[in-house]
């Protein structure tokens, strides 16, 4: 099996199909636009500016977790512990703040916790060469349990202004409600997209995901790249915890029990390949928006949530099938 890392597009004539293939976020973006158009036509409440703001706000937590998940999936890994780590961090942050610690210190310590756990994941995966699925499955179980032990099964409400900052301070931007959380998510997407596209680190991430052996032969430290990806993802999970407290100011050990699967759903809907090496963070944010759009639009169309889940699940399978098909065609 020979492998060649794709070079920059040549001057070859490109058509629309190739454009979509090369830019994985285009397909999801089209799907999102079509969904919005359909709901705009079938309900008279969906297309209100308030509601569009709401949909974005509803996709922030899972969207942010999914950004970290995207990085890991790009390396052909997977992180089942992502949401449970974030939940643990919400508890740590809220608990420390309730205990009288300044909000920003609690926030930073929460992010330290998520980074440390994610780094441990990365270390186990790179040094003992355990499969990411197994390591993070174990960590998922551990983090969930530790969260319950830490909180004694109780939820911890927080009123700390720093921890709630992402949602409470809102400003109007041409009549549109924008929370700081949305702005932060946008900055994160742009920053990560830049890092992935323009820096050596980003190119290494894609290369490791495409073929670790080839990456190693071309002089990339696979271990260091993988470890860095898990740590960055850990920091992102900490920020996701912050977003979660902004949205529901109540840290709950039972929250986001299937957040890991939700995050993977967003990543897959966003056009990132589960086989690694191909995808984008922008696509992931769009994937998270697609889920929230379906939920919101279908609710406003008066459809019960079990049907909403059927719709989301169908989309996931379609998205992966497309990825599979396009890969087969390429080879």
């Amino acid at each position: 099996m020979t492998t060649s890392v794709e070079t920059a597009p040549s001057a070859r004539k490109t058509n629309l199909g190739e454009f979509i293939l090369r830019t994985p976020a285009v397909g999801p973006a089209l799907a999102l636009l079509v969904a919005i158009a359909v709901f705009a036509m079938t309900t008279d409440t969906f297309l209100e500016l308030d509601n569009l703001s709401l949909v974005v706000a509803q996709s922030l937590v899972i969207g942010t977790i999914a950004l970290g998940q995207t990085l890991i999936i790009l390396t052909a890994g997977i992180d089942l512990s992502c949401a449970s780590i974030a939940v643990l961090a919400t508890l740590v942050m809220a608990d420390l703040a309730v205990g009288g610690m300044p909000g920003w210190v609690a926030l930073l310590l929460g992010i330290v916790v998520t980074s440390a756990i994610a780094a441990l994941n990365g270390a186990l995966i790179t040094s003992i060469r355990l499969p990411p699925f197994i390591v993070t499955l174990g960590m998922f179980t551990i983090a969930t349990a530790v969260a319950r032990i830490y909180s004694d099964g109780q939820s911890i409400p927080t009123t700390d202004s720093v921890l709630r900052w992402l949602s409470t301070r809102r400003y109007l931007f041409g009549g549109i409600e924008v929370t700081y959380g949305m702005t932060l998510a946008l900055i994160m997407v742009l920053g990560l997209a830049y890092a992935l596209a323009k820096t050596a680190w980003g190119k290494h991430v894609y290369a490791v995901g495409n073929d670790p052996e080839a990456a190693r032969l071309s002089g990339i430290s696979v271990r260091r790249t993988l470890l860095s990806v898990y740590i960055v993802a850990g920091v992102i999970y900490g920020i996701a915890a912050w977003q979660a407290l902004g949205r529901v100011p109540n840290a709950d050990p039972n929250a986001f029990q299937i957040g890991n699967l939700d995050a993977i759903t967003a990543v897959v809907l966003g056009g990132t390949s589960l086989f690694g090496g191909r995808g984008s963070v922008l696509g992931t944010m769009i994937g998270a928006l697609i889920v929230a759009t379906l939920r919101s639009g279908l609710t406003q169309a008066g459809i019960d949530d079990l049907y909403q889940d059927v719709a989301t699940g169908t989309l996931v399978i379609v998205a992966v099938a497309l990825d599979r098909l396009s890969r087969r065609k390429q080879s």
């Binding site: 979509i20 079509v34 086989f275 609710t299 459809i303 379609v318």
Partner: protein
């Protein structure tokens, strides 16, 4: 896997695009069809007609399925719009918040909610009420209770107390040796039933005759495991508190082959639970009436849309001990009555 070459035939990309288009079209046809089928293209009406949203804890528990079906039926009887949403697991606060927000956006006049964590969804409820939506808690009270306009629920402390009184009476003069299988730690329903049971049983928290307690989140498998572990060290058990009927069934499964036969009490009144009482696996269960909660909630919503009158305070839908071995001083009904009034399937 992992390969990708620069050469792509124009024909193959075209077919991928075609597949993509097909996929999107398929998803839209699916959602589009359902939209049509549900509303029939009808637009939101705002002429004194209620538009009711029900937000339950999950879709999986037969209890909530019954609550949902009863509410839907009542809404149909009144000819008002109704949609049902839920969290995806016990404790899914974010899911319930999203559901509330979307219902408010949809123009719901009343939201009936079985709140997940009592404090988790308060902010969203606040916002809904600020926009004039009447919010009623069904089955589970919020904390504080006045975070919603009104509460329609079983008084869980009272239900727990009835279970406790029955189990104690069934013990007679025997010195109690109690095991407790609780629900989800921190949930108000769990706390209230537990506290109520001990009050009815006539015992204080921390009493040495409580041989052990464990939480099983109301889940049969977890309850069986917890019970198996507790029974390892509590062979002298003669009385058991269970938080709900799946928990009681789990306890019973753990009892198999142990030779022990303690008095097992439970709460819920599901049809399966009542049949467990009939067959003797559970000695008594305290039945609650979810259909009544749903009906009262929908009626209140219809009235509110018509006249603007809001429900307030706590409405106890009551509870009753179901057993075939009645005890003096503990009012009860037999399983024949129970089977006529139970909820869910056997």
């Amino acid at each position: 896997m992992g390969q990708c070459g620069p050469a792509r035939g124009a024909g193959s990309t075209r077919s991928v695009v075609r597949a993509l288009a097909l996929g999107i079209a398929g998803a839209l046809i699916f959602t589009g069809c359902t939209v049509e089928r549900y509303w029939g293209g009808e637009k939101v009406a705002d002429n004194g007609k209620a538009k009711i949203g029900l937000v339950t804890k999950t879709d999986t528990n037969p209890y909530f399925v019954l609550l949902r079906n009863a509410a839907r039926q009542q809404a149909r009887k009144h000819g008002v719009e109704f949609s049902a949403l839920a969290g995806r697991f016990d404790g899914d606060n974010a899911g319930q918040v999203t559901a509330i927000e979307n219902l408010v956006q949809q123009g719901a006049t009343t939201i009936l909610i079985t709140p997940n964590s009592s404090t988790g969804v308060l902010a969203a409820i606040d916002q809904a009420r600020a926009k004039g939506v009447m919010v009623l808690a069904l089955d589970t009270a919020t904390e504080p209770e006045n975070a919603v306009d009104g509460t329609i629920a079983t008084d869980n402390t009272e239900a727990g107390e009835k279970q406790g009184r029955y189990v104690r009476a069934a013990l007679g003069n025997t010195e109690p040796q109690l095991l407790m299988i609780d629900g989800t730690p921190g949930s108000s329903v769990d706390t209230e039933r537990h506290t109520g049971f001990l009050r009815g049983f006539g015992m204080k928290e921390g009493d040495r005759r409580i041989l052990g307690a464990d939480s099983a989140n109301g889940d049969q498998n977890m309850a069986q495991e917890a019970a198996e572990n507790l029974l390892q060290r509590a062979r002298s058990v003669n009385s058991v508190y269970t938080m709900n009927e799946p928990t009681a069934r789990g306890f019973n499964a753990a009892l198999q082959g142990s030779g022990l036969d303690p008095i097992v009490g439970s709460i819920d009144g599901g049809c399966q639970g009542v049949s467990n009482v009939r067959s003797g696996q559970i000695d008594a269960t305290v039945m609650q009436f979810p259909a009544k909660m749903a009906q009262l909630g929908v009626d209140a919503a219809v009235e509110h849309a018509k006249s603007g009158k809001k429900v307030s305070g706590f409405h106890n839908t009551g509870s009753i001990v179901i057993t075939d071995k009645p005890m003096p001083g503990v009012p009860s009904k037999n399983t024949e009555w129970g089977e006529k009034n139970c909820w869910g399937d056997t």
